[in-house]
Symmetry: C2
Subunit: 613 residues, 2 copies
C-alpha cells in the first residue's frame, strides 16, 4: 500500500491528519505501558497508521487491548498538538534526553544527507516526537470508535535487514465507526474470497512448475467461466456489428519493428525464437499488429468503415517472476480485444458505443462503482512531440464523449499511451477491490506506422483512426475479479455446475428418476449432476453448498409421484416445493438465456415467481 | 504424384500395364508424325502415363489431337507387345541404329552404375523401346475411349537442369470411359474448388509475409467457420461427457523432456525461447503434455474415470518452408483435441465411443467414403521394444472394436506411434480428395512417463490408459477439406453470411422494410445483410450468388404489403414466394439449430415444406 505521506497534497486531508495523530497517540500509550521503549517511524497509511517500536521484552498480541484502552483515554482527554522548530543540534540534544537513539540517528541523517537545518517537533501532552506534521488541533477531533489496533508485524529499522528488528503495531482508522466497520467487513470478505483461495477450492485454475510460472492451466470449472464470458462477448459484439478474426500467437520480428514494440517493449516480451534460415519469431505481446495486418491485407473503402475486428486473443508478456501472483500477475493472458478502424467523423460515435458496452457489462454484473481515468499527453514530454494538434483534437473528443455520457472521470496529464489518449475503466467489486477492468485508446499513430489507408468517398486516400478496446479485460484479471465479487457463488448462467439433483434415498426408483432428469437437462446443454455417491442426504446437500452450486433439485417420493422437484437455492433456507420438472427445466433455461444475476437477492428466479418463461 | 513404377507390387495391376503400354503407343504415334524425334523416359503414372521427347521443331498443343487419333488407330490394329533381352553392347548398338542418344546414355549408365548386364526391350509393331515392362499382350485390351492426351509440359532430361529441356506429353488413362470422365469431372471440380482459390475469393484466410509463412490469419468469414465447428464440437463433447480445459501455448523444456518430444521431436518444434534466469520455453507442438499435467495436478480416484479432457488447442510445428501450402501444410494449427484417461476395462467402450463420434460427424457432413488405417507395432523395431504383451493387448482391443463396429479398415505393421497403436481416419470428399481427417491413439506409455496414477477401487495405485483423439482434426485441414467438399457453398448453419435481403428497388419503403427485417434477424444472432448498395437488383442477386450466400430474401412491393419475403436458395431457380417473414425467420432458426445440410438437394429446407419448425 502506498503511504499517504508520499503525496504532499493529501496532507490537507483531515483523515490524513487524524491518522497521523493517532500514530502519536499510539506511541504515547505504548510509552505509558512500556516506559523505555525505543521509537522508530510512525506514519499514517491509507487504512490507518502504524508505529515501529523496539521493546525491552517482546509485546504480546493480547496487550494491544490495553494499549487501545489507553489510546481512547488520551483521545478523551482532548490533548492538543503543538508544533515547535529546533535547530538540528537542539533536536539531537532533546532526543538524547528522551533516550530515543533511532530518532537521533535520523535527525543527524537529515542534516548530513539533505542539509536540513531546522527540525520540527510535535508535543501532545507529555509526549513529544520529531515530526513534520500536520496533525489535528486536539485529539477530541478523533471519534474514539473510528479506530482500532489491528495487528503486529516485524520490521527492520529503516527497512534494512542489517538493522535491528522492531515491532510494528498497525492500527485502522476511518472517518467514522461505520466506515471502520465497513472496511473490516470488506477486508474479511476479501480474505474469504481471495481468488487464489477460491480458485483452488473450486478448481478454477492451477499453476504448475513444469509448465512455467505465471502460466495458468484452466481446469474444467474455470474453462466454463471463460467459455461463458466469451459467448457473452461474442453475442454482444455480433449485435454491435463486430466481426471476429483469429490470428496466430507468433510473428516475425519485423512486425514488431513496424509496431514499435521492438525495441521499446522488448523487456516485456518473451525472448525470440531464432531460426537458422529465417528471421526470429516472437510470441505476440498484443493483438494490434496482427489486426492491422488484416486491415492492410486488401484495399479498403470508406464503405467498409467502421470496420470492427474482434478477437479473444492470447498474448504473452514476460513479467518478472517475483511479481507473479495467482491470476492477477501472469505471463499469458487471453484478452477481450478488438480494434475499430473508422473515419475521423465516426470516431466520436464509436468511442461512445465502446463506453456504452462497458456500462452494459457493469450493469449486468452489478458493478455499480466505476469511474474512468483519462490519460492525456503532455506537450513537454518527448514521446508526445509529434502531431500536437491531433493530440488536442483526440483528447477533446474523448473528454466530450465522457462528459456527454455522464461518466465520472479524472484527467491525468502525461500518462497517455504514446499513440493517443487512453481511458482506464476503473471498477470496484463488492469486496472493495478497485481494478483497472480494461483500457481503451484512441490511436492516430498506428495507421501511419502500418501504412493503413482507405479510399474515401472523394477518391482520396485517408488514414483510419483506430480505437483499441477490451471491455472484459483479460480472462485472468476478470475471472479473478468476479471470483471475489461473487465469492465463487456464480449466477446460474456462469456457474460451472448449474444444478445438482439430490435424491432423498438411493432406492432404485430415486436413482432411476434422478438419472432420467439429469439426462434431460444435460442433453439440453445444462450443466447438471445427479449425486449418486454413497454419501448421506445431508452430506450431499452440504457438498453442493461447499461447491457453491446455485440450484439444488431435491428428489423425494412425493416429487417422483408427481414428476416434480423441490428446488433449493444456494445459501437460502426457503425452497420451492413440488415444482413440476418441466417448469423447473424451463426456469433454468430462462436463467441461462437471459443471463440473470440470480445470485443477487433482488433478482426473481423465474421458478419462484411462477415463471413467465 | 507418386509414380506407380516406384511400387513393384503394382506391376501386376492390369491398369498399370495398360498405362505403360499407352506410353509406348504414344511414342509410336509421335514418331509416325514427327520422325527423328528423340525419346526420353515414358512411364505410367497414377492417372495415366507420359513420355518425354526432344523435337526438332516445337510441338503445338493442337497437334495432340492428331497424335491421339494415331494412337487410337494403333490400338485398333491390335498390336502385340513382345519382349526380348539383349546384352548391353547389343542394346547400345540397337539404340544407336534407331538414333536414340538419350536411351544410349541411359543403357550405358545402367551398366556402369548398377552393373546391369542384360537389358530388356519391348517391340510393338514397328516401334521398339528399351523397357522393363510389363505390358498388355495386345493393344486391343485397351478400350480406345479409356484414355486421352491431357497436356504438355517442359522437363529436363533426367530432371537435371544442365541437361536439354524436353517436351513431356501427359495422357490420362483409366479402366473405362466412365472412369476417365469421372476423373476429369472431379479434377475440374477440384480445380474450381481449390481451397486456396476459394479461400481467397470468399475471404476465408490470408497469409502474410510480415507475420510469417504457414501462419494463416483467419479473416471474419473463416472465423465464422471455426467458431461454428468449435460450437458443434463443444456441444457434442458436452453431451458425450467431456470437460473442457484451456492451457497455455508454451511450457518449459523440462515438460518436453518428460514427454520425450525433446530430443526426439526437436526438429519439428520451433526453437526455444531462452531466458537468462530460467529454463528455456518452447511453443507447444502437441496438447498432450499439458493435459497430462492437469490430470496429475491432484490425486485421482477411479470414481472420476473415464476423465475426458477436451481442448480446441493451438499447436505449433516447424515445417520446412518449402512444404508449406495454403491451409494444408501450416506451422500453426488449432486441433479438436481431447485425452481420455480410463481404466483398462473402460478402454474398449471409450474407444468405440470415439469411433462413433467420428462416424456421427461424417454422416453429418455427408462424407460417405471413409476407412480406417490401423497402424501396429513391429516386434523387431527398436522403438517398440518394451511391453510386448501390452502392445498385443492394445492392438487386439482396437482391432476388435473396429471389426465390431463394421468400419472398413486396413492394418499396417510397424507404423504405430511409439506409445501405442494408431488409427488414421481416412475420409474422401466429393472432389475425391482423400484426407487423414484425424488420428487417434491408444496410449499405455504416457502414464508412465508422466507418472500418472489413480486410486483403484481396491485402494491400489494404477496407471490410466489414455486415448488421444481429434475427430474434426485441425481447423486448417478440416476447413480446407470442407471448402472443397462444399465448393464454398456452405449449409446455412456454417455459412459466413446466412441470408442477404435484396430489395427490388431502393425506394424509401423498401429500405425501411429491409433494414427492419435485417435488424430482427441480426438481433437473433443470424448473419444477415441488407444489400443497400447502389447496385442494380440483378447485380445484387449476382453478388449474393458469387459470395455463395445460401439464402436470399427478395423484398418487393407485394412482400412489403403482406409482411413477407420471397425466399430464393443459392443456385436454384425455384423460389418460395410471399412467405410470411416470421415463418422465414423461424425456418432459418431451424436450419441453424438442427445444423441441416440444406446445401444438399435431398434436404428439405423447412420453409419449402411448410415448415415443422
Amino acid at each position: 500500500m502506498a503511504r499517504l505521506d508520499a503525496d504532499p497534497e493529501r496532507h490537507n486531508d483531515p483523515l490524513y491528519r487524524r491518522r497521523h495523530s493517532l500514530a502519536h497517540v499510539l506511541a504515547q500509550a505504548v510509552l505509558e505501558l512500556r516506559p523505555g521503549s525505543k521509537l522508530g517511524f510512525g506514519p499514517p497509511v491509507d487504512t490507518g497508521f502504524y508505529y515501529d517500536f523496539l521493546f525491552e521484552a517482546p509485546l504480546e498480541e493480547r496487550e494491544l487491548a490495553e494499549i487501545e484502552r489507553r489510546m481512547r483515554r488520551i483521545l478523551k482527554r482532548g490533548v492538543r498538538f503543538e508544533r515547535e522548530e529546533l535547530t538540528v543540534a537542539d533536536a539531537v540534544r532533546r532526543l538524547d534526553e528522551i533516550e530515543q537513539p533511532f530518532k537521533v540517528e535520523y535527525a543527524r541523517d537529515l542534516e548530513s544527507t539533505l542539509g536540513v537545518e531546522q527540525i520540527s517537533f510535535y508535543r501532545s501532552g507529555d509526549f513529544i516526537d520529531m515530526c513534520e506534521g500536520p496533525h489535528v488541533e486536539s485529539t477530541r477531533e478523533i471519534p474514539r470508535d473510528s479506530f482500532r489496533l489491528d495487528s503486529l508485524a516485524g520490521a527492520y529499522w529503516r527497512g534494512d535487514e542489517r538493522n535491528p528488528m522492531m515491532t510494528r503495531i498497525y492500527g485502522l482508522a476511518f472517518e467514522s465507526k461505520a466506515a471502520l466497520e465497513e472496511f473490516v467487513r470488506k477486508r474479511e470478505l476479501a480474505r474469504e474470497r481471495d481468488h487464489r483461495k477460491l480458485g483452488a477450492e473450486l478448481e478454477i485454475f492451477a499453476i504448475s512448475d513444469e509448465i512455467g510460472r505465471g502460466l495458468p492451466l484452466w481446469l474444467p470449472n474455470g474453462t466454463v467461466l471463460r467459455d461463458e464470458l466469451e459467448q457473452l462477448a461474442r453475442e454482444e459484439e455480433f449485435r454491435a456489428g463486430y466481426q471476429r478474426v483469429s490470428t496466430p500467437h507468433i510473428a516475425k520480428a519485423d512486425l514488431y519493428r513496424t509496431s514499435g514494440h521492438l525495441p521499446y517493449y522488448t523487456e516485456s516480451m518473451y525472448p525470440p525464437m531464432q531460426l537458422d534460415d529465417e528471421e526470429a519469431y516472437y510470441l505476440k505481446p498484443m493483438n494490434c499488429p496482427h489486426h492491422h495486418t488484416i486491415f492492410a491485407a486488401r484495399p479498403r473503402s470508406y464503405r467498409e468503415l467502421p470496420l470492427r475486428l474482434a478477437e479473444y486473443g492470447d498474448v504473452y508478456r514476460y513479467e518478472k517472476s517475483g511479481q507473479l501472483a495467482g491470476l492477477l500477475r501472469v505471463r499469458g493472458m487471453r484478452m477481450n480485444d478488438a480494434h475499430i478502424y473508422c473515419t475521423l467523423e465516426q470516431a466520436r460515435e464509436e468511442f461512445a458505443a465502446v463506453i456504452d458496452m462497458h456500462k452494459k457489462y457493469y450493469d449486468m454484473f452489478r458493478l455499480t462503482e466505476f469511474w474512468m481515468r483519462l490519460s492525456l499527453h503532455s506537450p513537454d514530454q518527448e514521446k508526445f512531440v509529434t502531431a500536437e494538434e491531433r493530440w488536442v483534437f483526440a483528447e477533446q473528443l474523448v473528454r466530450e464523449v465522457l462528459a456527454q455520457m455522464q461518466v465520472p472521470f479524472e484527467e491525468r496529464v502525461g500518462e497517455a499511451a504514446f499513440y493517443g489518449p487512453k481511458v482506464d475503466y476503473q471498477v470496484t467489486n463488492v469486496v472493495g477491490r478497485e481494478e483497472t477492468a480494461s483500457t481503451g485508446q484512441l490511436d492516430f499513430i498506428a495507421s501511419e506506422r502500418f501504412n493503413l489507408e482507405y479510399v474515401a468517398r472523394d477518391g482520396s486516400r485517408q488514414r483510419p483512426w483506430i480505437i483499441h478496446r477490451a471491455p472484459l479485460g483479460t480472462h485472468e484479471r476478470f475471472v479473478s475479479f468476479l471470483l471475489e465479487h461473487f465469492g465463487g457463488f456464480f449466477p446460474t448462467w456462469l456457474a460451472p455446475l448449474q444444478v445438482v439433483l439430490i435424491p432423498v434415498s438411493m432406492g432404485e426408483r430415486f436413482v432411476e428418476y434422478g438419472r432420467k432428469l439429469q439426462r434431460v437437462l444435460h442433453d439440453d446443454l445444462l450443466r447438471a449432476r445427479f449425486d449418486d455417491s454413497p454419501d448421506s442426504f445431508g452430506k450431499k446437500i452440504r457438498n453442493a453448498e461447499t461447491h457453491k452450486v446455485p440450484n439444488l433439485f431435491i428428489l423425494g417420493q412425493k416429487e417422483i409421484d408427481s414428476g416434480a422437484v423441490t428446488w433449493r437455492r444456494h445459501g437460502q433456507r426457503e425452497h420451492q416445493p413440488f415444482l413440476p420438472f418441466t417448469a423447473a427445466h424451463q426456469a433454468l433455461r430462462t436463467l441461462r438465456e437471459r443471463r440473470l444475476m440470480d445470485n443477487f437477492e433482488d433478482v426473481d428466479v423465474p421458478a419462484w415467481s411462477g415463471g413467465d418463461a
